[in-house]
């Protein structure tokens, strides 16, 4: 009998110290039945990619409020590739100006969520992005 759970890493790259949003989404995904690894504040892209590798997650959720997303997100995506984790889906949440979203999507980010996003929607998107049959 196999039972596959979706594993999600929620991380806060960079220096902003507000993790309320990250905790809310972590809790919501837990309630949606996922296994959520929460790594806390001030993570470097290397730390995030290493944690994603050790935990063998399906999804990495990045919460960024500092405005440094155009630097941090590509750095995380690059490190994930270096760790042969190209199949991991990257979600970004936080304060992301609309005009920056296409650039992030182009870099391989699966979805970007702004303030006020319904957490249910994020969970649904993850379920949709992830096909258990492949695992």
């Amino acid at each position: 009998m196999t039972e596959k759970k979706i594993r999600v890493l929620i991380a806060k790259p960079g220096l902003d110290g507000h993790d309320r949003g990250a905790k809310v989404i972590a809790r919501a995904l837990r309630d949606a039945g996922m296994e959520v690894i929460y790594t806390g504040l001030r993570q470097t892209p290397e730390m995030i990619a290493e944690a994603a590798l050790q935990e063998d997650v399906d999804v990495v959720g990045l919460s960024i409020l500092s405005g440094a997303h155009t630097v941090l997100v590509p750095a995380v995506v690059k490190k994930l590739h270096e760790n042969q984790l190209s199949d991991v889906k990257v979600f970004v949440g936080g304060i992301i100006p609309k005009e920056d979203i296409p650039e992030l999507l182009e870099q391989g980010v699966y979805a970007v969520y702004g303030p006020g996003t319904d957490t249910q929607k994020v969970a649904e998107d993850i379920f949709q992005a992830f096909n258990p049959a492949e695992a």
Binding site: M1, T2, E3, K4, K5, R7, A26, R27, L29, R30, D31, A32, G33, M34, E35, V36, I37, Y38, T39, G40, Q43, T44, E46, M47, E50, A51, L53, Q54, E55, D56, N83, Q84, L85, E134, A135
Partner: protein, 338 residues
């Protein structure tokens, strides 16, 4: 996706190891082969259990211990350290929030350390069903020390004593009176006791209450915060599976995991426990008992599965409705169904 080369795991491929652990955790058919390849290489690692109530500082302690083991000066090659951190699965959603890594940032970047979080997935003994299988994989992969952090445990989550060679029970000041210290359960399984948060004023009182409990169990002894332990002959003390545990008297360590106070002495004491087990032959006894229990558990699982595949669903439902209607006792029903 499921092809993983066990040789790559043995050679230190962390991605292969990580994916193998997922297969094992999900009881995927592909995990059998990996376990078969790694099992002959297992049996070497020192399995160290860290348990205690929620909030006593287990994760922070594990973080410090892993650092201490990596840095101890009396070793030519730093041992490879694996950490398995178990947190509870929600009984309602089946999801879990695994937060032990938050306390382990210090360990990032050290390729000699591998940390894996694990949800308990419905198991009640403080570990997950596949924690033992994780241990086999990590052991076979060549890790020298495996730290297993349990779910925040109350009084009866004692599975760790059946898995680990050395059990460290973590207490914190202010968590109950001296009656708590003489209750059965978690304190009985300790090879080493830690009073964490020793910078708090009540820490000495907690240590004293634990010491009184130990004195009752072992007869005499003194409070040790410097990693001394008493070797005393009191054959007759029974360990969890009635193995005779002759000479080991648990020591009590006052530590402050947030700043590392007392950690080196604790790490040294854990090493001493390993030597003690090996010199007395208890290491081998523990291994044999563990493997026997693993085998027992697997046989139970497989028999249940076989029975479930054979049983006539309609008949099962009929018997169950008899039980619900209080016409048969559950025992009579089970006997009828087997």
């Amino acid at each position: 996706m499921t092809q993983i080369d066990p040789l790559a795991i043995r050679q230190g491929d962390r991605r292969a190891l990580s994916r193998a652990l997922t297969l094992v955790e999900n009881n995927h058919p592909g995990s059998r082969e990996i376990q078969a390849a790694l099992f002959p290489h297992s049996g070497k690692a020192h399995l160290i259990g860290i348990t205690g109530a929620p909030g006593t500082g287990k994760s922070t302690l594990v973080n410090q211990l892993a650092k201490a083991f990596r840095q101890q000066e009396d070793q030519k090659i730093a041992p490879k350290v694996a950490i398995i951190a178990v947190d509870p699965t929600s009984p309602f959603s089946g999801g879990a929030l695994l937060g032990d890594r938050i306390r382990m940032h210090d360990l990032a970047g050290d390729k000699g350390i591998f940390i894996r979080s694990m949800a308990s997935r419905g198991a009640l003994g403080g570990l997950a069903h596949s924690t033992a299988a994780f241990v086999t994989v990590l052991d076979g992969a060549g890790f020298d020390l495996i730290l297993i952090e349990t779910v925040g445990a109350g009084q009866a989550e004692v599975d760790i004593a059946r898995l680990a060679h050395t059990v460290v029970v973590v207490e914190a000041p202010g968590l109950g009176d001296d009656i708590q210290a003489i209750k059965a359960g978690i304190l009985e399984i300790a090879d080493i006791l830690v009073v964490n948060k020793s910078d708090r004023p009540e820490a000495e009182n907690t240590a004293r209450a634990l010491q009184a409990m130990l004195d009752m169990a072992h007869g005499g002894g003194s409070l040790s915060s410097a990693g001394k332990h008493m070797l005393r002959g009191n054959a007759g003390t029974k360990t969890i599976d009635n193995q005779p545990e002759h000479h080991w008297k648990p020591s009590i360590h006052l530590v402050t995991a947030t700043n590392g106070d007392g950690i080196n002495q604790l790490a040294a004491d854990i090493k001493r426990h390993r030597i003690y087990l090996q010199e007395t032959g208890l290491w081998q006894v523990k291994e044999e008992n563990r493997l026997r229990r693993d085998l027992d558990a697997l046989i139970k699982d497989m028999l249940l599965l076989q029975w479930q595949q054979k049983i006539d669903k309609a008949w099962f439902d009929a018997v169950l409705s008899d039980v619900i209607a209080r016409k048969r006792t559950p025992i009579e029903a089970a006997e009828a169904l087997i």
